[in-house]
């Protein structure tokens, strides 16, 4: 499609208790844009996590992040070793960034 740039899309899911750690890591990778959706739940190797539980804070956060190929490799290099400790998951896929809005990647 015209006026679009080929990019990589990261989709990271971690527990909210690890969010600060992830944010620091993204800053170090000089990421200039991301989107965060809190109040997510889910199921994984540590069992079910439910953000509606008032007794335990079992909240997940979904982070979506689009960046250029070279930046993606940099993010991945920082992220991969850390993911072991953070838990959760990290998916990468291809996407097209529609030109128009101010550059934030």
């Amino acid at each position: 499609m015209n006026n679009t740039i080929a990019m990589k899309r990261f989709e990271i899911v971690i527990g909210i208790e690890q969010l600060d750690q992830l944010m620091e890591l993204l800053e170090r990778s000089e990421v200039r844009g991301y989107t965060a959706i809190k109040n997510a739940g889910g199921y994984g190797s540590r069992g079910a996590r439910n953000p509606d539980d008032v007794l335990m804070t079992d909240e997940n956060v979904v982070i979506i992040l689009a960046c250029k190929e070279d930046q993606a490799q940099r993010v991945l290099n920082e992220l991969r070793p850390a993911m072991k400790e953070l838990g959760g998951m990290c998916l990468i896929s291809d996407c097209q960034w529609v030109e128009g809005p101010a550059v934030s990647y």
Binding site: D52, V54, L55, M56, T57
Partner: protein, 318 residues
């Protein structure tokens, strides 16, 4: 014997709603708002009362609280490990829950005393604050002693969580402000919210606690009869111990009973949060299930009047 207080019936109303799968839901914001309110209100009431005491007078008992509270998990742990067949982590975590305290059980105890018109020392909320923490430390130590995972325990993070935890913070903050308000005779316009509405707010809170308890029954049932027996007998023992300590330190019969309630109660708010950091390999479903699904209802319906009988008995009144 005094009749059941209407306020605790709201707990049953919540449990039944859960069991019949009613669509009744208490908004999370309401639950959290009332829990903030209750802790401040308990603290304020205690602080106002303390402004009429000589603080030095309370010190020896206060020190004793810290030591004895830390000891409770030492009794609970071997019982859980050997008879309950729980692993080390779970045994330590459950012991921590039962060594710590529940502010709502405490509130129901106060309401019971008020409803039968019995006097108790006004500074009891201070003991509520003091009793919350020590057992969490002992329980953690038991859970980790000799374990190889123990080295990487985040002790710094744990102590921060425990000491700055919102429940103790609100309680102590309430005590300080209440003390100041009492000493400067400025309690008046705040009491309309924080004292007059206490029981009504407790009613709404108990409704949600009933819903929560009902949602934990399955966890308890899975673990079998031991957890139910433990969740009833251990509080009775701890309550008697609390009454003995209360009598030993010269509390009035009413204060003795409240102390019994504190020792008998099991934490389901501060303890789970602390154990998640301290002993992440423990299963929170088991400890919360026992504390909230068995011990809490037992205490508010059956335990509270029993601890009152115990208190009268240690004081030679019964």
């Amino acid at each position: 014997m005094a009749s059941v207080q209407p306020v605790v019936l709201f707990f049953i109303m919540g449990v039944l709603a859960g069991l019949i799968k009613s669509d009744l839901k208490i908004p999370e914001a309401l639950y959290k708002s009332i829990s903030i309110y209750l802790l401040i209100a308990i603290g304020l009431k205690g602080g106002v009362a303390m402004s009429k005491y000589d603080i030095m007078e309370v010190l020896p008992a206060a020190m004793a609280m810290i030591v004895t509270a830390a000891a409770i998990p030492l009794v609970a742990y071997p019982i859980l490990k050997h008879w309950g067949k729980f692993n080390q982590a779970d045994s330590g975590a459950i012991a921590a829950h039962y060594g710590s305290v529940s502010a709502v059980t405490f509130a129901v105890g106060l309401a019971f005393m008020d409803s039968i018109g019995e006097h108790y020392e006004g500074y009891m909320p201070l003991f509520l604050a003091l009793l919350e923490i020590p057992a969490l430390v002992t329980g953690t130590l038991l859970a980790l002693a000799g374990a190889k995972g123990g080295e990487k325990t985040q002790w710094g993070k744990l102590m921060h969580e425990i000491l700055t935890g919102s429940s103790i913070y609100l309680l102590v903050g309430g005590v300080v402000i209440g003390y100041y308000a009492g000493a400067t005779k400025q309690v008046e316009p705040m009491d309309k919210l924080f004292m007059d509405l206490f029981i009504g707010s407790l009613a709404l809170f108990l409704l949600e606690m009933g819903l929560l308890a009902a949602s934990k029954f399955a966890d308890v049932r899975k673990k079998g009869v031991f957890l139910i027996v433990f969740g009833i007998l251990f509080p009775l023992g701890a309550g008697l111990f609390g009454c003995y300590i209360g009598w030993l330190f010269g509390l009035s019969p009413g204060g003795t009973m409240i102390l019994g309630v504190l020792y008998a109660s099991a934490s389901y708010i501060a303890a789970p949060a602390a154990m998640r950091i301290a002993v992440p390999e423990a299963n929170p479903g088991v400890s919360i299930g026992a504390a909230l699904g068995v011990t809490f209802p037992f205490n508010i319906f059956v335990g509270v009047p029993i601890y009152w009988e115990m208190a009268k008995w240690v004081h030679g009144m019964a």
